[in-house]
């Protein structure tokens, strides 16, 4: 009977939830990183007006709790006639939030690139956009990678907030089961273990990527 609960109830439910968690994390992390790179670059090198807009975006999404952002997207937007699926609202919220944080890591890395790099591109006849795409951003990304990876790991964990706006992922599945069987300790320990494994795998992948992108003079060898 003990075994049955784990094998027949808990593991299948958590695996189902894990799949949904993946569906949240993969687009949120990848699109969020792209948003971060774009916004971070605009905030550093963009037209002054665009810089202000980017700063405003980052201030708003770093300055308010993620739960509130999700509530506004899911429960608030219908007041304006915009109805989002729970999944869409969750992914959109995560992208906007993680993008704001990523832009800050990217901005810091861009500011650390020596001014001479830009001068050299100009002297060779690069346009500003060409210089950013081929020279400045590739260098900055390598410097930003540890911070950006940290944000992705954080995202894996805050993806659990999606169940609050009724998208049932890992934490949501577990909570339903825990309430039904009144077995909070086992269920939440199991969920914790699932997250720990996911984060460990992500960390491993990020370290691999750092190694793959390693170039003498950037980071440690």
């Amino acid at each position: 009977m003990e075994w049955d609960f784990f094998v027949k109830e808990l593991v299948p439910a958590l695996n189902r939830g894990l799949w949904n968690t993946f569906l949240l994390i993969v687009p949120s992390a990848s699109i969020g990183l792209c948003v971060g790179v774009l916004v971070g670059t605009v905030r550093t090198f963009g037209h002054p007006v665009l810089q202000k807009i980017g700063d405003g975006y980052a201030a708003l999404f770093r300055g308010t709790p993620l739960v509130i952002q999700l509530f506004v997207l899911y429960f608030g937007l219908p007041n304006l006639g915009i109805y989002l699926e729970p999944y869409v609202a969750a992914v959109l919220g995560f992208i906007l939030c993680t993008g704001a944080y990523q832009s800050e890591y990217v901005r810091g890395a861009l500011l650390s690139i020596r001014k001479g790099q830009l001068l050299a591109t100009q002297a060779l006849g690069f346009s500003t956009l060409q210089a950013l795409v081929w020279i400045i951003v590739p260098q900055a990304l390598r410097r930003a990678l540890p911070g950006c990876g940290n944000e992705i790991i954080y995202l894996i964990k805050y993806s659990s907030l999606a169940y609050i706006i009724t998208f049932i992922e890992l934490t949501g599945e577990g909570k339903i089961l825990a309430t039904r069987y009144f077995r909070f300790t086992e269920v939440f320990l199991a969920i914790g273990l699932y997250y720990l494994v996911m984060v460990t795998a992500a960390d491993f992948g990020l370290k691999k990527l750092e190694k793959k992108l390693y170039i003498p003079g950037f980071g440690k060898g």
């Binding site: 001068l119 060779l124 020279i135």
Partner: protein, 257 residues
């Protein structure tokens, strides 16, 4: 070596520039003819570096005109400006190699992205230029793995690959250890002998004596003396340049070139 044409390759007219409330350049003019090597010399803060950066608009001049082969350059016509900069090679004091690219990619990236050459053609050309400055065997190394002299030679190869009409050299050896200066000066000497048109800020007096067609002595944003090394550096000439150079020579014995 001087082979004057009726029209200068580069014409700099009345360049003025104010930076941070200070007048750095005050109406500087000179002309550079094909195959000429002119040298900028003078105390630091005199405006040499600002002048060179004004010539390719890395620092936009407040006033004055710059023309390449009779064609005036307007900074607001972006397309023309980018095309002009491709024809004006720039060598920086601290090299400014692209830190994330190895030597051959440092040379080929502008060929690919700016001149739109294919990857293989760009690489081939880059290798030719690296061989020309004597570091073909270092093609796969990254800037962090090169010595200062090697880095500066890569940066010269990078400029040469663009087929420049003129080269601007901003104290190319002043960030180098003394034993590495010779290898870079040798490359520049070879360029001069191949007929490259150049203006160079430097304090390497032996090099200036041997190779400069004209010395421009700059102080407080003006060219206050100009003439051939023979005119300005002959003992007993009593020129400002002469006084400055003998002081330099007292301070350091430089390697022979």
């Amino acid at each position: 070596m001087i082979n004057p044409e009726p029209r200068p390759v580069l014409q700099v007219k009345n360049i003025s520039k104010k930076l941070g409330g200070k007048q750095i350049l005050q109406g500087v003019s000179f002309e550079l003819f094909k195959g000429e090597l002119k040298v900028l010399i003078g105390p630091s803060g005199g405006g040499k570096s600002t002048l060179l950066q004004c010539i390719n608009f890395l620092i936009p001049p407040d006033e004055g005109k710059i023309s390449l082969k009779g064609q005036e350059i307007h900074i607001h016509r972006k397309r023309d400006l980018y095309a002009y900069r491709q024809k004006v090679g720039m060598i920086f004091q601290d090299f400014n190699l692209f830190d994330h690219l190895n030597a051959v990619d440092n040379v080929s990236i502008a060929l690919r992205k700016v001149k739109k050459m294919t990857r293989s053609a760009a690489r081939e050309r880059a290798m030719v230029e690296l061989e020309r400055v004597g570091i073909g065997d270092k093609a796969e190394l990254y800037p962090a793995q090169l010595s200062g002299g090697q880095k500066q030679r890569v940066s010269i190869a990078r400029a040469l690959a663009m087929d420049p009409e003129v080269m601007l050299l901003d104290e190319p050896t002043s960030a180098l250890d003394p034993e590495l200066i010779g290898e870079v000066l040798t490359v520049i000497r070879n360029l001069a002998q191949d007929g490259m048109t150049m203006i160079m800020a430097t304090h390497q007096i032996g090099f200036i004596r041997a190779l400069a067609d004209e010395i421009l002595f700059m102080q407080e944003g003006r060219i206050i003396e100009q003439g051939s090394p023979f005119d300005l550096l002959m003992p007993g000439r009593n020129s400002r340049t002469q006084a400055f150079c003998s002081k330099l020579q007292e301070l350091s014995e430089e390697p022979e070139v």
